[in-house]
């Protein structure tokens, strides 16, 4: 077997084009019309290791008849029109040509009493899968992998989330109904995707596994970056910003 110190890595890096290039902090290059750019610029990415709450692996699966669509075509469509399949009221702002490894997308999510602004980065993408990773302050620290594969006579489409709530407040929110809301979100998304490929009403199977029951209390300070708190402050500050803008326009006109 291997193990000698003289050996060199044999990896041919045939996956190099599939991975995002190294970045230490995220940079939003342009803000599309209608998008709110909050809680993304300058943030670091976070894996489940940097999160606070229990670690969960959530898997959502829908099966489509293989004659409807091949895995490669499904993933190409999903990447190109990613936000189109989300439940109503939620928006992802990314390149119109589809998201590529390293791209940063802005997310404006509908939450109870709040429009939550955050983002994601495309970490990895190949012909049959792609993965998004979250920045500091997102609801959870981790990644979401979207994939499709041929199994028997079906194209099996899967969304898999590996996550920890980012901070104690989000952990509480997940316990108080956030997990159910997230399950509904991805079930609806897969349902919309199935409907797009001519299979409305397809059943979405959900499997939730608690990978780690321990909370990482040393990460409680993540709350400083909380996109919920910062989005709420941004909303409350809207009248002040509006008044300032009006005063500025009046001064300019005078």
């Amino acid at each position: 077997m291997t193990g000698s110190n003289d050996e060199q890595p044999v990896a041919a890096n045939r996956d190099a084009a599939h991975w995002a290039k190294m970045v230490s902090r995220l940079k939003v290059s342009e803000v599309p019309e209608g998008a709110t750019n909050l809680n993304v610029d300058g943030r670091q990415l976070t894996s489940p290791i940097q999160g606070f709450g229990k670690m969960w692996q959530k898997t959502y699966v829908v099966r489509l008849p293989s004659e409807r669509v091949a895995p490669v075509d499904l993933i190409a469509t999903w990447r190109r029109d990613f936000g189109e399949f989300w439940p109503t009221g939620n928006h992802v702002y990314a390149r119109l040509t589809g998201i590529e490894p390293g791209d940063v997308g802005l997310l404006n999510m509908k939450m109870p009493g709040l429009k939550l602004s955050t983002g994601v980065m495309m970490l990895y993408a190949d012909d049959e899968s792609f993965t998004l990773m979250t920045p500091q302050g997102h609801m959870f620290a981790g990644w979401i992998t979207f994939s499709a594969a041929q199994q028997d006579e079906a194209t099996v489409v899967q969304t898999q989330v590996l996550m920890r709530a980012s901070d104690p407040i989000f952990e509480l929110a997940l316990m108080m109904g956030g997990h159910r809301q997230e399950d509904r979100f991805w079930s609806q998304t897969l349902g919309n995707l199935a409907a797009h490929f001519g299979h409305p009403g397809a059943a979405v199977d959900t499997k939730v596994v608690c990978v780690d029951r321990k909370r990482q209390w040393s990460r409680w300070r993540n709350v400083w970056h909380s996109s919920a708190i910062r989005s709420a402050i941004y909303m409350l500050d809207a009248p002040v910003r509006g008044a300032r803008g009006l005063a500025h326009r009046q001064r300019t006109a005078a």
């Binding site: 291997t2 890096n13 670091q44």
Partner: protein
């Protein structure tokens, strides 16, 4: 969903278990990797030898996080060596390097694990 395309062979080195990885590490490798891990027995550190790694996708990275959780549960350290520059950058990008000690050689990893 994917099938296993990697092998994980275990060697005992002092109080550490060295896992020699060969092939493509993807989500389909989960069962084989976890079986290999369970066969390491009573150890204080798990050292992953990536010298024979030929491909790893995001599912593979996810597996390493799961392995890390299992190792921590048993108060074991997780270390790695033999990563190419490309995969070192991926460990850095995904911030796995903050929890998995990365070393150039097996001897370095064994020394860091206190198992040399």
């Amino acid at each position: 969903m994917a099938e296993a395309t990697a092998t994980f062979d275990v060697r005992r080195k002092g109080t550490a278990g060295v896992v020699d990885i060969q092939g493509d590490v993807t989500a389909g490798s989960e069962e084989v990797l976890m079986n290999a891990y369970e066969s390491t027995g009573d150890i204080t550190a798990v050292i992953l030898n990536f010298t024979g790694l030929s491909y790893m996708n995001s599912g593979g990275i996810g597996l390493l996080v799961t392995l890390l959780v299992r190792a921590r549960r048993r108060s074991q350290r997780l270390l790695a060596y033999g990563l190419s520059e490309h995969y070192r950058q991926i460990f850095e990008l995904t911030r796995l390097d903050e929890a998995i000690g990365i070393h150039d050689t097996e001897q370095d990893a064994l020394a860091a694990a206190g198992a040399a």
